[in-house]
Amino acid sequence: MAVRMRMEQAVARAVAGATDASDAYTRALCAIAQGVEWPFAAAWEPDVVDPDKLRCVAIWAADEEGPGAFARTTWATALRRGEGLPGQVWQSGRTIWIADAATDERLPRRPAAADAGMHAAVAFPVRSERGLVGVVEVFGATPREPDAELVAALEVVGVQLGQLVERRRADDSRHASEQRYRATLQAALDCVVTMDHRGRVIEFNPAAERTFGYSSEAAVGREMAELIVPPKLRESHRGGLARLLAGGAPRLLDRRFEIEAMRSDGTLFPVELAITRIDVPGAPVFTGYLRDITERRWAEAELRASRVRIVEAGDAARRRIERDLHDGAQQQLVSVAISLRAARARLLEQPAAASELLDEAITDLAQGLEELRELARGIHPAVLMEGGLGPALRGLVRRSPVPAQLASVPAERLPEAVEVAAYFVVSEALTNVARHAPAATLVKIDVARRDGRLVVKVRDDAGGGADPAGGGLRGLADRIAALEGSLEVHSPGGGGTTIHAEIPCAS
């Protein structure tokens, strides 16, 4: 009885000071071995990868010199159920005592035990609520017959050790999980803000620090409503928390919604927010995951606006085409019809007048045709489809009222949308120069492929001061944005205007 009490107390003391489960084992082995004054003890557990084998998880040896080789053999040995001393305990669930392990042929480690001077051996099960969780073996320096009192003491220690080790292991896993949670919180791109049941901030991660402009130290302990909720929403926030704590049904928990939040400088911004109630013992704790959606909102608004502009630009283009047809070719054709009718009426009696009318009709028809050609080119340049950017841009240069020069243009064909966009950049730029900067003496056009993009540059040498938001340029910017490209207008007063467009063009 005395042996048992002493050993239990020694094991409890040893394990209490342990830093983790492995350390607890080593300390317990030491307490057990020293308790019986034997020089070697080892703990075995089912292998994590192959649970049908036992592997040594901790060793204590009184003297590094003697049992060193035996310890190495023990570390390297894997035992199946029923194999070796620990395997037999694992299979039977009972303590096994061998008077002299150095002479027992059944033991796989017998030669090593003999070399190390290990003789008496006792192995006992380590038990927890889960059942047998491991085996501890202790070796003595001399042969010794079984001792019933010692066996009883060791079996109790086995149960004690099982509980202690399990508790340690749970602590370790809790600690590791907490570490993982911390790391996740630190690295999260979203703001994570946790508050207690009084509405006080208890956690404020780095993303929240960056977004709201408070350090974690400054935020923790403050009322969350006062810190990041805009004044107009504070009362409903406090009311909601009070209702929830009084047992009311949650309205905002565990779903995503958009709301306004407030930075430390008082500015408001839109956030996406999800609130979760954290399942902890005691008073409830709530964690909010917030994401600043200012940029997303802006991008959505810009997308909506550009869609509207594209539709409006389409409508405006159709109106312009109708107008151009009506004012141009249609009027010419009306005149042709009138002249032809008049000519027919005079064909026999006044052939000279009829001939004159036919000449008028021919002239009007030629003008009408030219107007139709011009219009068709404006709608969609046929030469671009047939010959690519080179011929199409050279045509624009030829017809430009302001002298223009095409410095470079890729010879190869590019995707149709890219060619069309590049063509209209040049066409719009030349039209703008003719309309707003007729004083220009030269417009220089550069079109080149660079790093998977088509770069279009149009420079004039007039006064500058172009409006980048002007209708034509805005429409062009939308067209190029739809191709994921960019359009920039540099037009410093007195410095000429440069239009620079870049359009992605996969090879």
Binding site: L333, A337, S339, R341, A342, A345
Partner: protein, 118 residues
């Protein structure tokens, strides 16, 4: 038989073609106007027998001008003209006080005479 005409159209090319065609057919060109207000002024000042009135005038539409002329000068014969198809406009023109509608491409002195006689 009506013989003097006021031509109201914002397209100079059509005014010129129409004037010459009608002159060749024996009509007198009383004058030309390019918009509704000009048309009303010219009609009062020149007192033509007929007004050839384009539907698509800038500002005041041709049909509005037709109504004003019907109310102010009921004796004046107004013929609405357009580049558009006649079927669409004939009814509208008459409802707004015009004597009839003529597609521009069909204009000759004889056709105008026939419309006014009908």
């Amino acid at each position: 038989m009506a013989r003097s005409v006021l031509i109201v159209d914002d397209h100079a090319h059509f005014r010129r073609t129409a004037s010459r065609a009608l002159e060749r057919d024996g009509w007198t060109i009383a004058g030309e106007a390019v918009d509704g207000a000009g048309a009303l002024r010219a009609a009062r000042a020149l007192e033509p027998d007929v007004v050839l009135l384009d539907v698509g005038l800038p500002g005041m539409s041709g049909l509005e001008v037709a109504r004003c002329l019907r109310d102010g000068m009921p004796q004046l014969a107004v013929v609405v003209i357009s580049t558009h198809d006649s079927a669409d406009y004939h009814e509208l023109a008459v409802a707004n006080g015009a004597r009839g509608f003529l597609a521009k491409a069909e204009l000759t002195g004889a056709v105008l005479d026939a419309l006014l006689a009908g």
